[in-house]
């Protein structure tokens, strides 16, 4: 049986030499969390099953991807490395793979040009193409949408692009199915409603997507404590859980989180 994966996400600001990992809600109150490859190595040694770098400068400033950071990281991190942020074309993806990344994560570019999923998957294999979906609950305009009953009422989920700054009108549940059909290897599913709140994952969203696709769903957005990870594994079909801030500053070390999950019956790699 495959292990459930615990994935730290490092939001990288490449606007300074060498780059830095930042922590902050919506680009305000940004706090410095560390040097990308140093933090990645620390998480690797502490038992991360995969590392995700998200280039948060790329989309707004149209910067190139983080070749140097990837190269340096790949020298000391021996688990799969995913890189996202600002990847718009197969050439952008190729540059990231050539630097030593194993997977790319695409969001805005895939929404604009869904065929990019097919291209990456055909050239590098399904496992190399992560489709990131940033979904927000909508309680109105339900007609023609895939709806889900939640304790807060019936809603649908809208995809956002450009790091949450633009809304597309695209139905996230339908989009997840399309991404699967086109050859995505994972769905990295972030709840816009929960992201940054530390109140736990959007269980209804995660469950609904995991039921509609055959590929693994990585739950993201809202983790504040290990209990939230346990909840998402117990109540949904998520295969992985991603978190950023709880791992920074040693709030909850990865090894402790995994130990806790294992003691509560979740199949994890220790």
């Amino acid at each position: 049986m495959l292990a459930k994966r615990i994935i730290p996400c490092l939001d990288c600001d490449l606007g300074v030499p060498g780059g830095r990992v930042v922590k902050g809600k919506e680009f305000k109150q940004i706090k410095y969390a560390g040097i990308p490859w140093e933090l990645a190595e620390k998480y690797y040694k502490d038992g991360a099953d995969e590392i995700v770098f998200l280039d948060i400068t790329a989309s707004s400033d149209r910067r190139g991807t983080m070749t140097d950071v990837i190269r340096k990281t790949a020298e000391s991190v021996f688990v799969p490395l995913t890189v996202g942020g600002g990847i718009k074309t197969i050439e952008d993806a190729r540059a990231v793979f050539n630097s030593g990344a194993d997977k790319v994560s695409i969001n805005t570019a895939a929404l604009k040009n869904p065929n990019l999923i097919n291209e990456i998957s055909e050239d590098y294999g399904r496992q190399a193409c992560v489709v990131a979906i940033d979904a927000k609950r909508r309680y109105t305009g339900l007609e023609g949408k895939e709806t889900v009953a939640t304790p807060q009422g019936i809603c649908w989920f809208e995809c956002s692009s450009h790091g949450g700054r633009t809304f597309t009108g695209i139905d996230a549940l339908k989009w997840a199915e399309e991404a699967d059909a086109r050859g995505a290897g994972d769905i990295l599913l972030t709840s816009m409603d929960r992201d940054g709140t530390k109140e736990g994952f959007d269980i209804e969203l995660t469950k609904a997507v995991a039921e509609r696709v055959r590929i693994p769903v990585i739950a993201s957005g809202g983790v504040g404590k290990p209990e939230h990870m346990l909840e998402v594994f117990k109540k949904t079909g998520a295969q992985a859980a991603l978190a950023a801030s709880i791992f920074h500053y040693n709030e909850y070390p990865i090894s402790e989180v995994k130990e806790y999950l294992k003691n509560n019956g979740v199949h994890v790699r220790l």
């Binding site: 790949a74 030593g100 496992q127 693994p216």
Partner: protein, 199 residues
């Protein structure tokens, strides 16, 4: 010196880094000349069986020579599958160093297998020194090897079938998973290999 065969099948950056991390001297080689004289030969590979065989076929005699001379040889992922006679994935002949074939993973599971799976050790071999039953390794593949002689299987994983994960015949070993992406346990296998151990 470990020779890693770069025959144009996938990015070898990680495998090189992983060997260097264990302290090995590594050389990337593209041709037969590079294979001879190496203390160990590693053949990685990601992609389709026929494409790999068409690229590796011109080196077949040299690979057989190197193996016969007793040099430790490691095939990883597709580099393991090409050690066999053939694959359901293609029409080309394999290297035929281990009797058997590669077959597609069963329909009952999601293909490719992508992720961390638990090793079930069938027999002890020295490249698995320090590896225990239940240790996790990182897999990405759609086909798996079925050797004719079952005793060459050193470890399997459960994925819709008893999927061969490690084979060992004399100085040849094959790994279906990616040791370079399997964390400290993966690096340990590479260390065991460069320790000059007989697989």
């Amino acid at each position: 010196m470990i020779a890693i065969l770069d025959y144009g099948m996938g990015n070898l950056y990680s495998i090189r880094n992983a060997f260097e991390k264990t302290g090995a001297q590594v050389r990337m080689v593209q041709d037969a000349k590079g294979l001879h004289g190496a203390d160990g030969v590693v053949v990685p590979g990601v992609g389709a069986f026929d494409a790999a065989m068409r690229k590796i076929a011109p080196l077949k005699d040299d690979i057989i020579d190197v193996v016969r001379s007793g040099t430790p040889y490691m095939g990883i992922c597709l580099g393991m599958q090409v050690l066999f006679d053939r694959s359901e994935e293609g029409k080309e002949q394999g290297l035929g160093l281990i009797p058997g074939k590669a077959v597609k993973l069963p329909k009952s599971v999601l293909v490719p297998q992508i992720g961390w799976n638990e090793l079930k050790i069938k027999k002890h071999i020295s490249i698995l020194d320090g590896i225990s039953d239940g240790d996790f390794f990182y897999f990405v593949h759609s086909y798996y090897c079925i050797p004719k002689d079952k005793p060459v299987v050193a470890a399997t994983v459960d994925y819709g079938a008893d999927v061969t994960a490690v084979v060992a015949v004399d100085n040849i070993c094959g790994l279906q998973f990616h040791p370079e992406k399997s964390g400290p346990k993966g690096l340990l296998i590479l260390e065991n290999f460069i320790g000059g151990v007989k697989c």
